[in-house]
Subunit: 318 residues, 2 copies
């Protein structure tokens, strides 16, 4: 556990990026700022606020620069963004992002479908982004994270080779990234696979280079997978308020793991997240208002984080 009042785990809220990018409608800039502000006020200290992609491809991210600049005014908040290429990274840096995640898929087919290029080209792009970082004055360099996706399986290629995962971890480190994050993009991971791959990745590139786990929940294993990752030393977790985003394939099958539920689990386990769960739950009202078509997931928001109110499992005396 961390000393003093430092959190034991870092929960990185990815809803404003991963969640909104998948949403059926566009959230207003004002609502995005409210969400980011209220998450910050609830104690969240890392937020993936937007994606630097062409507005004509993703209209909901047209305000990326404004959102990034706003978030950078919140003291102590790590402003994380996603950028799929050098141009996006340049814009992210200009807007004041502290951390830039650049995605690359372990699956070649997924990388081509998602980023319209080969994995080798993605890794080369990441090398150029790291060179751009290194050209900046020391105090102005953002953290560059290589975001490995489809680590535990791909909907297009099926099973993913763990050797390929490790090879790409090393390739990303050699390209100059500060950290490598591992994402279960398709929600195919299971707890045994989570432990196996994180252990192997740590042996390959070292704990300090491992950014954390980005877990999805379409098959309901999200929190079990988070526990499995915690067990092998992962202390950074990406998640999304109300489970927004990810793979909205089926009713009841949310995308990202639900921030509120994740905070509840860790806090109940005695781990400090630094996040006030009651304030966090209240932020869902911004989503209800700003994205009326979007289903909101999560157990704790429905039941309440307190201990009262559950009905009894009455066996019936006889």
């Amino acid at each position: 556990m961390a000393a003093h009042n430092e959190p034991d785990v870092l929960i990185s809220e990815v809803g404003p990026r991963d969640g909104l990018q998948m949403a059926r409608s566009v959230m207003s800039t004002a609502n995005k700022k409210r969400w980011i502000r209220e998450a910050y006020d609830a104690g969240v200290r890392e937020i993936e606020v937007c994606s630097f992609v062409p507005p004509k491809l993703v209209p909901g991210m047209a305000d990326a620069a404004e959102i990034t600049s706003y978030a950078a005014t919140l003291e102590g908040l790590t402003v994380a963004v996603l950028a799929p290429n050098l141009k996006g990274a340049q814009n992210a840096i200009a807007a004041g992002a502290h951390k830039i995640t650049v995605p690359v898929s372990v699956s070649e087919a997924h990388n081509r479908a998602n980023l319209n290029k080969a994995r080798t080209d993605s890794v080369a792009d990441i090398g150029r982004i790291c060179a751009l970082r290194d050209s900046l004055p020391t105090g102005e360099r953002p953290v560059i994270e290589g975001g490995l996706s489809t680590v535990w399986g791909c909907t297009m290629e099926g099973a993913v080779s763990e050797d390929e995962v490790l090879r790409l971890c090393t390739a990303l480190v050699e390209a100059g990234v500060d950290e490598v994050g591992l994402a279960d993009t398709t929600g195919m991971a299971d707890p045994a696979g989570i432990r196996r791959v994180f252990r192997a990745a740590e042996a390959e590139i070292g704990r300090a280079r491992l950014a954390g786990a980005r877990l999805h929940n379409p098959r309901g294993l999200g929190l079990a997978n988070a526990l499995a990752a915690l067990d092998v030393g992962v202390t950074t977790f990406d998640s999304s308020l109300a489970g927004l985003g990810g793979c909205p394939f089926a009713p009841g099958a949310s995308g990202n793991i639900v921030t509120e539920d994740l905070v509840y689990m860790f806090e109940e386990m005695g781990l400090k997240t630094g996040i006030d769960i009651n304030r966090l739950i209240k932020i869902r009202s911004i989503l209800k208002e700003g994205l009326p078509d979007e289903p909101l997931y999560g157990f704790i928001a429905e039941v309440g984080p307190g201990k009262g109110g559950l009905t009894l499992d009455r066996v019936a005396a006889a």
Copy 2:
């Protein structure tokens, strides 16, 4: 892992008892038999088929004897039932039950609310049931399980003392039970508490006397808690098809952990359950038909156990 074709984990389906007892309507005897038969055909080898309670208190269990006798015709199936007192146990034995769970709450208030008696009286009742068991010829003795409920918290008393849990484990063993099961009746457990209490209970009464984990899911931690229990050596898990039963307090907050999702998690981890998940999912149609008012929970049944069909997390190429 178990040798040969023995399952690594035993999944005990409790839906026909725990699920139906909480249901808004009564399932027909014919549908109950179909459910039990089809679960058996899918590979389920322990089913809690009913509860021996007065029909005027629980009309849905009026056919307990018929259901038990029917289930006992399925070769290799452990026919488990619940009985809250000596009379219920006598009826269960007469009907041919192989295993009788007798509940007692760690929380005194819950025990009184649920069973209308003090915990000491419950333990004394269990002693009488064990004496009845011992009066039977060797080959005809059912397994008596003391079912400890509210182990991880009570809605009436709040936090539950782990010392009290251990004291009751010992009291049940001294009363003569073959096994003690630990139930998170209220869904208040977290993975750290699951590990702590199962380890302590094993130290107290030994692995051989620990029946397994009955986990509920109103706060969404059910599968994470199951993983935590597995990690400390628990290999028997109670669960319910479609998460039927338990604490239907809130929308989205199911009661028992979902059998289909639990089977999926363990099988993905490489553990044999002996259960065909596709056949298991098909049984949900009996619930849809037989209990039209009941919400059906679970992720895998929605997404499908196969690997295809999930949408991609498209980052948007630029």
